[in-house]
């Protein structure tokens, strides 16, 4: 990529005007935007992104059952190996409720995943291989996967070991720091997270410890221009994440050339305008109904209630006015007729500072409304 004056932790090349940051101790100098390839099967879009300077591509073995990696592999044929960096990821079966690995999560199974990714991509080595979707400290330290990754690194199949998380992020990030094995963390980080200050602090600690920090889900947890009635200004959301110098690059998933060009513009200038700040402030207010799934409440309730699900039902009623979805969710939880309100005081301390007990008692009565009346 050439040598230029080291201006600051964010480099801006005079000719290109693209901002670069160094991914921790990996030493990989990459643009502040990474292409998230997961939603596209369009090789010409990937080519255009690479040609325009998006040096780093992010994929996963599960995306389109490996065909996403294979498509990228076709695009990369013939390109000099040092003209791009690839991150991919794989996971093994775990218990959905506890996040702990099941018996079939073996070192051999994970080694096979790494080899499959190499074959799909047609590469001799992968730059960053992520231990995917971790939300427990114990899982971050899961030996069979760590061993598989360390052996792969020693064998030259992967250059660096990463870990991804979009739940309990501070716990996982700190586990990554403590492990002394992970080189990169890939974490959900956006302007709407109610536990954003804790995530920000953990990111700073990771960067201080020399880990590379990659942010994802930066558009408030939404995908671009889709589901639900709210529309997030993607440009503003991307810029917000880049205000944090400890975030070395952010993954932007795009499926059109226009979206790509928007992200290329952010790569060059990510100063937030006043209008963008106002937009984010308003969008965050709406998120006062959005349970971030941090899981802090679990275990606090004396009756072990599924509080994140109940908060989601509350959001459906008060946020989206979708009573049908709220009622369906309440029924699916199979809770007894009376289950909240008889504790002398509620021991749940929500990070959002919500009155969880009051919200539960508000929304649970929806079960008593006949379904055909609200359908």
């Amino acid at each position: 990529m050439g040598g230029f004056l080291y201006l600051s932790s964010t480099e801006k090349q005079p000719q290109e005007k693209v901002a670069y940051r160094v991914l921790g101790k990996t030493g990989i100098r990459m643009p502040v935007i990474t292409m998230g390839v997961m939603n596209t099967d369009n090789p010409n879009l990937v080519r255009a992104a690479l040609n325009a300077g998006m040096f780093h591509l992010d994929t996963a073995q599960t995306y389109q059952r490996g065909t996403n990696e294979a498509m990228i592999g076709e695009v990369l044929k013939g390109r000099p190996r040092d003209s791009f960096a690839i991150s991919t990821k794989a996971r093994l079966p775990n218990d959905r409720n506890t996040g702990l690995y099941l018996a079939e999560a073996t070192e051999e199974a994970y080694t096979k995943k790494i080899d499959t990714s190499l074959k799909n991509l047609g590469l001799d080595y992968i730059d960053i291989y992520h231990h995917h979707n971790v939300w427990r400290r114990e899982s971050a330290f899961y030996e069979p996967i760590m061993k598989a990754l360390e052996k792969a690194k020693k064998a030259g199949k992967i250059r660096f070991i990463g870990i991804t998380t979009h739940r309990n992020e501070p716990e996982v990030i700190r586990a990554a720091i403590d492990s002394k094995v992970y080189d990169v963390v890939l974490t959900a980080y956006n302007f709407r997270q109610q536990h954003g200050p804790e995530v920000k602090k953990a990111i700073a600690q990771a960067a201080e410890a020399g880990l590379g920090v990659v942010a994802m889900k930066t558009i408030g947890g939404n995908i671009r221009g889709s589901y639900a009635s709210e529309t997030i200004d993607a440009r503003a959301a991307l810029k917000w994440a880049l205000q944090d110098p400890n975030v070395h690059t952010i993954i932007a998933g795009f499926t059109t050339f226009d979206q790509m060009n928007l992200d290329l513009a952010v790569m060059k200038d990510f100063a937030l305008t006043q209008s963008e700040k106002n937009h984010l402030r308003r969008a965050k207010l709406f998120s006062g109904l959005y349970c971030q799934g941090c899981g802090q409440c679990l275990g606090q309730c004396l009756k072990q209630l599924p509080i994140p699900d109940l908060m989601r039902a509350y959001m459906y009623v008060y946020g989206y006015r979708n009573l049908v979805e709220a009622q369906d969710l309440l029924f699916s939880l199979n809770l007894p007729s009376e289950f909240c309100g008889d504790c002398s005081s509620c021991p749940v301390k929500c990070l959002n500072r919500w009155n969880v007990s009051a919200r539960i008692q508000d929304v649970v009565h929806l079960r008593e409304v006949p379904s055909n009346f609200i359908a």
């Binding site: 997961m38 939603n39 596209t40 099967d41 369009n42 010409n44 879009l45 080519r47 255009a48 996963a60 599960t62 995306y63 389109q64 059952r65 490996g66 065909t67 996971r91 079966p93 959905r96 079939e104 995917h132 979707n133 979009h166 994802m216 995908i223 889709s226 589901y227 639900a228 009635s229 998933g253 499926t255 059109t256 050339f257 226009d258 799934g293 989601r312 009623v317 008060y318 989206y320 006015r321 979708n322 009573l323 049908v324 979805e325 009622q327 369906d328 969710l329 699916s332 199979n334 009051a358 508000d362 929304v363 009565h365 929806l366 409304v369 379904s371 009346f373 609200i374 359908a375």
Partner: protein, 295 residues
């Protein structure tokens, strides 16, 4: 935040009803509930899990984004165990239309898979069997099933397919692709942002190889002729071909991202080729499309 204290009044309930009708998003209640079959020798381990567009992410993480682009409606997951500690997981993804279910299925199938006559189409590999039927995309995974793996997967697939509604045929428009040179099972449906342009809302593609040349053929079905006119005009503007008149007929354009693209617009269809330099071959294929859609 106002509390829902007056919910018990009939007037308020009526207002809720009106509100839900006008503002409601996707709902499990609106969709069909799939009943998981009883399979001899297997017991359902727990009640089926259900995921909506908002919660799909909890089950399949980042892969959920692509399913949402294919108008995913809901997912039901059934887990089975037997007394030999083997397990089978059945995931039934319901999408808005059969096209959308085919679309996500086509994104994940490999052209050289072991194809099966299940539902509209299916395929299997070790510990995996996926198939599509109507608006449903079904994914079955097995663990510890040993030598009987494929037979077990087939048994489950057949029984699940019986419980599903919807046509058991692939989208009819796929038969509009000429057979000569087409790579079998390479057809895909792209539900949004076709060719990387938001104005080409959706399209079908297939890969071809003929006389040593590799190329793609695609078909876009607009809502009507005006919809196609709008798409063509936007594409001409995007590719800076404003001097070309937008009318039915053929076009040869230089796309800055896709290279040479040939299009033929007729009625509510736009079909085209990419990377096909042979003008005679292009003409033959276009004539084929023209006669197909005139039927």
């Amino acid at each position: 935040m106002k509390k829902l204290r007056i919910w018990k009044t009939p007037l308020f309930l009526f207002c809720l009803f009106l509100g839900a009708k006008s503002l409601g998003g996707p709902s499990l209640a609106e969709g069909k509930t799939v009943s998981f079959p009883e399979v001899s020798g297997w017991k359902q381990a727990e009640k089926p899990q259900v995921f909506s567009p908002k919660t799909l992410y909890e089950y399949i993480n980042g892969a959920a984004d692509l399913y949402l682009k294919y108008d995913f409606q809901n997912l039901q997951v059934g887990e089975y165990r037997n007394d030999k500690k083997a397990s089978v997981t059945v995931e039934v993804y319901r999408h808005q239309t059969p096209h959308h279910a085919f679309g996500i299925y086509s994104q994940e199938r490999l052209a050289k898979a072991n194809f099966l006559d299940i539902g509209s189409q299916g395929y299997s590999e070790s510990m995996v069997l996926n198939f599509v039927q109507g608006p449903y995309y079904v994914k079955i995974n097995s663990y510890n099933t040993g030598a009987d793996d494929q037979e077990i997967l087939l048994t489950f697939a057949r029984q699940v397919a019986q419980n599903l509604e919807g046509p058991s045929s692939l989208p009819a428009i796929l038969s509009s692709f000429p057979a000569e040179g087409k790579r079998k099972n390479s057809e895909k449906f792209i539900a949004k942002d076709f060719l990387g342009y938001s104005f080409f809302h959706s399209g079908f593609t297939a890969d071809y190889e003929l006389l040593g040349k590799k190329f793609k053929i695609f078909v876009i079905e607009g809502k009507n002729q005006n919809d196609c006119r709008d798409m063509m005009e936007r594409y001409l503007k995007q590719t800076e071909n404003l001097e070309k008149k937008s009318g039915e007929g053929s076009y040869r354009l230089r796309d800055p991202y896709h290279g040479e693209v040939d299009l033929y617009w007729q009625g509510k269809y736009i079909w085209g080729t990419m990377n096909l330099d042979d003008p005679n071959l292009r003409s033959t294929y276009f004539q084929y499309f023209e006669s197909f859609f005139k039927k």
